[in-house]
């Protein structure tokens, strides 16, 4: 079955984002080849897209153009996607599963009177429509869902598909924006860098990371002692820093620090994807978790299934007495 698929392409300082190339690949597979892929790029002025048609390897590039689209907004981009969806006749719309997609996908879906399939890692057509593989329970399980009908709206997880090689778009169409600046309910004021942290986790050879399963800040000393015995520093999952058990600078993951130490010890951390992306570059990973199904074991070299409050002091002791 071959059907037209639309992706929302995103721009960055260096052209088109990696996430967009992954969407192009996912769309190309779903459409039975790149010719069946349309890519929408919202722009304030079409001249901004100069050069991009040479690299946006889609069947057609749709530039939705107007002052309302000069900066990204949830409702502006949703209007652009819906407009391009109609113009292309696409039966499936792919968006990134990231802060852009979280803003735009549900608004697009609502206007199409449907729900989106989100956090998707694989897609296929079956007799009765589109089937998507997605993550549920914070990555603990994978789920297959049937999209409710066409057009379908999908957000695609980063890294689920290889990035497509840049190449020219076969054709370009410029569509006037269906919305003007006064129609928008949201406005981008600015984009800022968040305050940089003081502790340099990234330089450490050993990181011992504390997770919510430790139960409370009163139990963090055992983690500090293990870190000291290993000559390392303490890091944390977001659940731990959000709860105020440790400062935000120690957070590891997609919205925190990215570390690649020689040794990473995950203590009572479940291993949600947003945590894993921050520590995947570690040379050797140890996980201590009482749940044998915790996703962290899929990212670890060695694991101990057990109560961290009991196991961690034993590991500290074993390290000390091994000298």
């Amino acid at each position: 079955m071959s059907r037209r698929v639309l992706i929302l392409a995103e721009r960055s300082e260096n052209g088109i984002t990696d996430a967009s190339y992954e969407l192009l690949e996912a769309a190309s597979r779903l459409a039975g080849g790149p010719d069946g892929v349309s890519a929408v790029l919202p722009v304030g002025d079409a001249s901004e897209a100069e050069g991009l048609r040479e690299v946006l390897s889609a069947g057609e590039l749709l530039l939705v153009e107007g002052p309302a689209l000069a900066a990204p907004t949830a409702d502006g981009f949703a209007a652009a996607v819906l407009h391009a969806r109609e113009a292309s006749g696409a039966e499936c719309v792919l968006l990134p599963h990231d802060p852009v997609g979280w803003d735009v996908a549900p608004l697009v879906a609502a206007r199409l009177s449907t729900a989106a399939a989100t956090a998707v890692s694989a897609l296929s057509w079956r007799e009765d429509g589109l089937v998507a593989r997605r993550s549920a329970f914070l990555g603990k399980f994978v789920q297959e869902v049937a999209a409710p009908g066409l057009p379908a709206v999908v957000t695609v997880e980063r890294g689920a598909f290889p990035a497509r090689e840049p190449g020219p778009a076969l054709s370009v169409r410029i569509l006037p924006s269906p919305v003007g600046p006064d129609d928008l309910r949201s406005r981008l004021v600015e984009i800022r860098d968040s305050a940089a942290g003081g502790v340099d986790l990234t330089a450490a050879d050993v990181v011992v990371a504390a997770g919510r399963g430790l139960g409370g800040p009163e139990n963090l000393d055992i983690v500090r002692e293990l870190a000291a015995a290993l000559g390392g520093v303490v890091g944390a999952s977001r659940a731990v820093t959000d709860a105020g058990w440790l400062p935000h600078e120690l957070q590891i993951g997609s919205s925190g620090a990215t570390v690649s130490p020689k040794l990473y010890v995950a203590c009572a951390i479940s291993g949600a994807i947003q945590h894993l992306v921050g520590m995947r570059g570690s040379r050797f990973v140890v996980a201590i978790n009482k749940d044998p199904d915790a996703p962290i074991f899929g990212a670890a070299d060695v694991g101990i299934v057990g109560d961290a409050l009991e196991v961690i002091p034993l590991v500290t002791e074993a390290v000390r007495s091994s000298r």
């Binding site: 989100t118 329970f137 914070l138 049937a146 409710p148 290993l230 040794l263 140890v286 390290v319």
Partner: protein, 259 residues
């Protein structure tokens, strides 16, 4: 105008989940409020305390026992609750849920509607946005800050790579909040006592029409490429076996090691 929080009842995070058919076995699970939604409730309470909302209302769609999460919101200080009663199985389709929530919200004189960024069980990350889309309210996801500045709602959104987008929204607006946006309060004993006298409106939802919904097909454990070697034996034995593996695997020596 009121501040409305959307709250979902989800299985306790620390339960032993087992896949069963197209979902998990729910026969012996405890339930509580979705973690993200505690932050949504706190944000709504803070808006009222800062004088930007007359009343706070918590809304949930779920089975009869989901009334429990509304009670915990009332105990935190929310003024009243709306319980849209439906089978747990009907929560499978985010569009059905969002339409029911949107209908309820449309009658609540909402200025700001807060939702969680995602539900810990289904993890769609879209119900707040669907409600906004259906009602044509403004929308911002992944909020890590929420303030009124010169009478306008300013939202900080967490982007990737440690950047923050500052956006301004017209009211009414739906904001899907990230954890850490605030520090959710705990219910005080007084709050718990007072919550018993607070009103909860109950509405029975009609079952969703057949077809057209997002359908669950299967649920299973992810297949893992290379999985961890799980160290067997007692905790003492496992700890002892771990140390040499850490040394060789990481290729480092530990403080105090002989050079």
């Amino acid at each position: 105008m009121n501040a409305v929080a959307l709250v979902k009842q989800v299985p306790d995070r620390n339960s032993a989940f087992r896949p069963a058919g197209d979902w998990i076995d729910e026969s012996s699970l405890g339930y509580g409020i979705n973690d993200y939604d505690r932050y949504a409730v706190e944000a709504a309470l803070a808006l009222k305390e800062a004088g930007h909302a007359a009343e706070t209302v918590a809304v949930t769609a779920g089975p009869a026992d989901a009334g429990q999460v509304l009670r915990s919101c009332l105990a935190m200080g929310v003024d009243r609750g709306v319980h849209l009663i439906t089978d747990r199985a009907h929560l499978a389709d985010p569009f059905f849920v969002a339409r029911a929530l949107a209908d309820a919200v449309s009658g609540l004189d909402a200025g700001v509607v807060t939702a969680g960024l995602l539900a810990e069980d289904s993890g769609h990350g879209q119900v707040g946005g669907l409600v906004a889309g259906l009602l044509r309210y403004s929308f911002a996801s992944a909020a890590t800050g929420l303030h009124f500045r010169d009478g306008r709602l300013e939202v900080h959104r967490e982007l990737e790579g440690g950047r923050i987008a500052v956006v301004e929204l017209r009211l009414p607006a739906v904001v899907a909040v990230q954890t850490g946006i605030n520090t959710p309060r705990y219910a005080s004993l007084r709050g718990i006592m007072a919550s018993r006298r607070k009103p909860v409106e109950r509405v029975e939802l009609a079952a969703p029409a057949d077809g057209g919904e997002l359908r669950r097909l299967t649920l299973g454990r992810p297949e893992r490429g290379a999985s961890a070697e799980i160290l067997p034996g007692s905790p003492q034995e496992a700890a002892a076996a771990l140390v040499p593996r850490m040394r060789t695997g990481a290729g480092i020596s530990f403080p105090g090691d002989a050079p």
